[in-house]
Symmetry: C2
Subunit: 548 residues, 2 copies
Amino acid sequence: MNKELRSWSRKRDRKQSKLSGIEPRMNGKFIDVSDIVSVLEALIEPGAKVVLEGDNQKQASFLSQKLLEVDPAKVHDLHMIMSSVSRPEHLDIFEQGIAGKLDFSYCGSQSLRVAQMIEDGTLKLGDIHTYLELFGRLFIDLIPDVVLVAADKADTAGNLYTGNNTEETPTIVEAAAFKDGIVIVQVNEIVEELPRTDIPSSWVDVIVKADKPYALEALFTRDPQHITELQILMGMMAIKGIYGRHGVQSLNHGIGYNTAAIELLLPTYGEQLGLKGKIARHWALNPHPTLIPAIETGWVESIHSFGGEVGMERYIAARPDVFFVGKDGSMRSNRAMCQVAGQFAVDMFIGSTLQMDYAGNSSTVTAGRLSGFGGAPNMGHDPRGRRHASDAWLAMNEHPSELSKGRKLVVQMVETYGANKKPVFVERLDAVKVKDASGLAITPVMIYGDDLTHVLTEEGIAYLYKTDSLAERKQALAAIAGVTPLGLESREHEVSDLRDRGIVAYPEDLGIQRRQAKRSLLAAQSISDLVTWSDGLYDPPAKFRSWS
Amino acid sequence: MNKELRSWSRKRDRKQSKLSGIEPRMNGKFIDVSDIVSVLEALIEPGAKVVLEGDNQKQASFLSQKLLEVDPAKVHDLHMIMSSVSRPEHLDIFEQGIAGKLDFSYCGSQSLRVAQMIEDGTLKLGDIHTYLELFGRLFIDLIPDVVLVAADKADTAGNLYTGNNTEETPTIVEAAAFKDGIVIVQVNEIVEELPRTDIPSSWVDVIVKADKPYALEALFTRDPQHITELQILMGMMAIKGIYGRHGVQSLNHGIGYNTAAIELLLPTYGEQLGLKGKIARHWALNPHPTLIPAIETGWVESIHSFGGEVGMERYIAARPDVFFVGKDGSMRSNRAMCQVAGQFAVDMFIGSTLQMDYAGNSSTVTAGRLSGFGGAPNMGHDPRGRRHASDAWLAMNEHPSELSKGRKLVVQMVETYGANKKPVFVERLDAVKVKDASGLAITPVMIYGDDLTHVLTEEGIAYLYKTDSLAERKQALAAIAGVTPLGLESREHEVSDLRDRGIVAYPEDLGIQRRQAKRSLLAAQSISDLVTWSDGLYDPPAKFRSWS
């Protein structure tokens, strides 16, 4: 039992010594854009834990490009922590030997390459996370040495404004700033006075005005013109058979066309059903443009957002009763708190997947693609730490007893044949093979079958929370699996029994006629309609404009 | 499908009109202490949703006292949202009619009175929450109209410094500031320059320098002299049979003497076992003074904290390699992020309870006491959204299969007869009756039996994660339930079978001799020893000083 004779501020001392080394190039907290590569080389030790901000939408793109330019003899074997792997250089740094290990949450366009690089041994995989567990680990066993983040503006004192796209920047910065990590920020602009402060100057070490604004993608914009009548039918079933039936008050939507259809059906079909004010009042959601008609017709009381959405800035600023908007008139998003809310405080998560096995386990990780999941597992599970009740939550309690409780609605909405013309329902998830190829400790399942309460296809709804066994769960899925191999296993008498018992509902059981499902039922049928609904406040990005 | 013709900034307009009303009394953002009651009357509408900061430790005590002085004819029927109900005036406002409804998380000393007031109809109960779900609801369906919070210092521009006791203040303030709620802050001091900014001025509306500093309690300080040899025995079993066996790297401890014993055994018994560097490296924990010897002997790599602890300030400032300390030299705690970390990023939660039923369900809600749970349900459950693996987490996977995963260690540590000399194990939790008396929708269970992986008593350890049925779970609990009624149901051949199969372990099975469990094995035996270990940096509050 010996007291350690050591310095207890080793990390601080290392940080101070590194910062002293670049002092000649510092002007307050600011460095010149031409010095960034040498500053990165001076501040980042080999093997350091580095958080590089690739959010869902916002990318510290200047810093990620400059990181690729460092000398691998000086900076190498970094342990990269990235909530989103989204840009080529996020992986190029591994090929250069600058980085060695990766912990991440989501990986869209780079998913094929990540899988390949792991197999080739170019990249050592730490683990796949949902956002919230990755943020949590920044305070426990993945405490960063350096963070590279992006903000809109800095004032001359070094305070930061992140505006609409606050996202996870404050969370990342906090984990570093209060554990003697080094905080390096790229900003689009340096101004005398900020609209507001999102991150105080005392949390920040180095600021650089980038040569161009950070990259920002409109990931949550769905053009209504691509919504099919099948999706409209499914949307009607969702509204009547799930939202309305259980009285869903608060929710999160996935990013697909399926849920975009629902957003556009609330003011029409939802209104016909007399559900206004009775469902879908509170949202944990990015500012989906397809929600504009529902907002304008008074369906939506509040929306808290993970991040911003390009083009929605003026509209949001004009709707502070709905969105979280500061005194300055711009939104503050907050991915960490919105994930907390989306996990614990909403009645329902509804999303989509690429594959689902016969037990209801689903994954977006398919052959050769290590895509990660982002927030879906966090919102798409029953949070067993929840203790407050709501009507929809209690409605999931099929066998009330002294100690029983409610359950979160976790809904998957899939067409029986996916975009790739392959059946969504598979005996075995591709993810199992990906696990072996990637050396993962567990199979990358997005949502587990036993957390799932409903599955909705163009055939009908399976109320899985009412099933009592794995066999019955499979039967219920088969009943809505159409002409996929699973669907063909379905027996007529079984289906009829499941329908009688309310475990499966077809459109006719819900009083929905397939021919009602017309595009004319959408509150907006194009991006241009959304602009009209917004009184011209929504500014769609160029790629969504067919006019101009 | 009609567009609503309405103002979309109603809440902002109301806020601005209210703030204009008090303008004559404002000096910048500051008001005089003598104006606070009339300002509260002017800013708080009847029926408003009001968050009153009662954290675990820190209390906005000046504002809560002044709220009791408002005229109930002007301010009434408030919907109070309080993470902790801790002070008499927190309930007096209900008796005065100033408040009507309560949503809360934790209620210590006031638990008897809350239960009584609900029965009497003086107080309408919203719900009981774990901290994180309450914070989540502040962004969804409990968005505050007014928040009343406490900070250490304000600068003349209105920026706030919360220092060690940051706790949930930024989270509460964010929910209000970005949804046109009114943010009212009491500070201990107004200064020219802050040590650092924790909350930017642009998030704050009204600041008042209170007539005395906010109340702060040392809730997490356990005097080693009260640790019994039974607790030492249990601590040894925990270290060898749980921490060591499963390789627990990251964890949260409850606040009892049981876990304080473990903290003081790491540098002695843990060292003997050769476990240093192999277990208990990363902590989500308030700065427990009883962890000082483990820190000083190099056991602890990092601690992220929910809140501060009175007396630990100088010690923390001198150990920035371990704690989360800002450039200014003081800690920043963060209850929301530490709960996220404690839920998702640690291997184990270990705590205690007042009652446990034969299925392992436990509650601290006992006859007539509506105590709430704080963070225990959040950390004491298996977070099904977790996707990253660790050795301890994987060790809980008893039946590995293609899609199986690990599980969080959720451990309860109880003596078979509690402090009140009643058996801890009961057939039926008192919470069931409390539910009916309070009109709660579900029984207030703290930790559900099926989330529990281990129970430890002075008799031994039940490895519940290895049990396959409710009947077996009950047998395992009975085997360690001593001479309680449950223990007396235990049959010798059953116990012997459970021990053979590793489902139950007695001290002798773990190679622990009861006579080893001596107080001399504690690294510190008194508060004074802790001060010595800290090199005089720990300043225990007066009530913990037997000397001086």
